[in-house]
Symmetry: none
Subunit: 195 residues, 4 copies
DNA sequence: TATGAATGAGCCTTCATTCAT
DNA sequence: TATGAATGAAGGCTCATTCAT
């Protein structure tokens, strides 16, 4: 990795959590400057403008999240364990796997009406996540863990939606009680579909 | 209502959708000026500063949403109809009941890490919404529509979370397919608990 | 004149000579700030952006020049005196009637390849100036001062071009010798066409 | 020519038309970088700073112009043909012999009040050009082509000034009509002084 | 109450320039 | 010689806010 590429990566890593916490609009280039201890001009050596940097930060946050999901799910042995691992992974939004909380929710809600580029990135992230779940369910159906008529596409949507909704409630209420209900509910549905 | 109060209300009504669409940080006082055709000074006659106006806009958006929910649910005759009405009310996030989409999601995600005042307002909105659902379920249990052992508190959380999650998916993907799955799933759970 | 209009005019008057001396590109909003002792924000209350202010400054410089020309020419009694007055008016480019020298030359040369709006303004100024000369010649022909077959359109172009060219030489060489030659030449052509 | 000298020359050739078109102030080192496809550092290996590069560009533009003039005039056989060749050379400012138009006019007007170094360079260019004309006239007088009492110094100034003035008019108006008048006028004066 | 002129801090960005490699 | 990363001052401009009228 060249010096330039290294610095670029360094900036992204410092910037990503800031964007995820404050939002794109509320994050200034000066915030990034301060976090990186680099000069203002230096930011523009590596990123054409704030929008490009913000996009890189969005990508980074989603990649970190995606990698952690894959790693977590990857450790599971059975399909059911995979689903449980995924659900437990999002278990505690007050201490989230990515600083600032789920970037899909954060950037999605900021970008939906105003930033088509970021919106499309988030769209990719959502589809990826649901595909992970769908794969686990289909795998469980194929290997006889789950009922064969379980609708993988539909339930992956249900898991994703409920966890994101629970995310919202927990982060806003400042406690995890509702998230526990959601986790319990999802797990019981999974049990119902387990043979 | 005095002239001043009238103007204040007028500003709020013009400002609310702008804040809900663009977010608080990305909305400038000039945006509101333009929308109201009022002078810059006039804004500060009625609102101490941007934060106060933003809070009023958050309140307004949530009140509009709450009123529409109550009106929609109020038209239903049975408890089940109430739940169905609520679900159908959030049926199409691409053409949402409030311009800019669900303010709980929008302001919640912007404020969770940065704005305790707005965060607490959203918290109130979330609790209100879930209480509406809980009331319907409890009413249905009381009048024999629903199974007596149905957990109202838990299922109201499930409905709310799934609809908000579906909201995210639909608005970002730009189509409603996943929302339809969620609606179907929720209604089938309700049917299962209907006597 | 409203307070705002007054300030706007004040800014233009302070800005005009700066733009004419330094050129549009080399003049910064800070330069104007300093000259007016106004705040940076104040400039943008009265002018949308630098381009708009620059255009107003171009207009102002040309208007000042045009008014002085008309006043000077207006004092003359005969057509010949008018032409002589015009020529003498541009007599000394080292101490020009407008600070920074002829704005037609200054802004024309800066704008010709890069700024169509200013270019068109300068075009208007050039046409105006030549029309003044043409009118004087035609008046002299009509009243029998000048030979009837003198081509007014052509000679007004010749006067204008030679004076602008002389302007260039004088300002760059830092002395007026060549301008004197031009003045002498022009006057002798006029004499030749005087009856 | 060493590698270094070669690169230096290459940069000058790419930079010269840019400076002549946009002006010195409005041309950035990045513009030159882009045009040469060289690195930013490379510019500073060959030129101490922007001012030095700009000066080299001014010199280059004037040299190209001067060489073309000499070549054009050199092809003529008689003194009158030389003068005519010179005039025709500047015939069409809309398609000028040097990209961006006459550098004497361009840089002269930008530098007169702000850049003594460039101003002096332009001064040299103006004197050179007039000397070329003066030489032709004197040659014609000496060989009996022109009237012996024709004032070479004065008429060379007249030609130069009128052509530069015509240059301004043509480039700003976007058409050549006025330049034709000037060419016609100059040639008829020459004819009048031809024996 | 309403206006809009005025402010200055702060925004994103570009600039000319330096320097280690 | 050539590179391109790094710098910080300065660029144009927007911001939230104040205040005299």
């Amino acid at each position: 990795m060249s010096k330039g590429e290294e610095t670029r990566q360094f900036i992204i890593e410092k910037a990503a959590p800031i964007f995820n916490v404050k939002g794109i609009a509320a994050t200034s280039m000066s915030d990034i400057m301060e976090a990186t201890k680099l000069s203002k001009g230096s930011m523009y050596v590596h990123f054409e403008n704030k929008e490009v940097l913000a996009c890189a930060a969005v990508d980074h946050n989603m990649k970190v999240l995606g990698d952690k999901i894959l790693m977590t799910v990857g450790k599971a042995k059975t399909a059911k364990e995979e689903l449980f691992a995924y659900i437990d992974f999002f278990n505690n939004p007050l201490n989230p796997p990515v600083i600032g909380g789920c970037p899909l929710l954060n950037f999605g809600m900021e970008a939906d009406d105003t930033n088509p580029v970021v919106k499309e990135k988030v769209n990719g992230g959502i589809r990826f996540t649901q595909r992970v779940l769908e794969n686990s369910i289909n795998k469980g159906i194929a290997n006889g863990e789950f009922k064969p008529d379980w609708n993988a596409a539909e339930f992956s949507t249900v898991i994703f939606a409920m966890l994101e909704g629970g995310n919202l409630i927990s982060r806003i209420s400042g406690n995890n009680d509702k998230m526990k209900i959601i986790v319990k509910t999802l797990k019981s549905i999974i049990e119902e579909n387990t043979l």
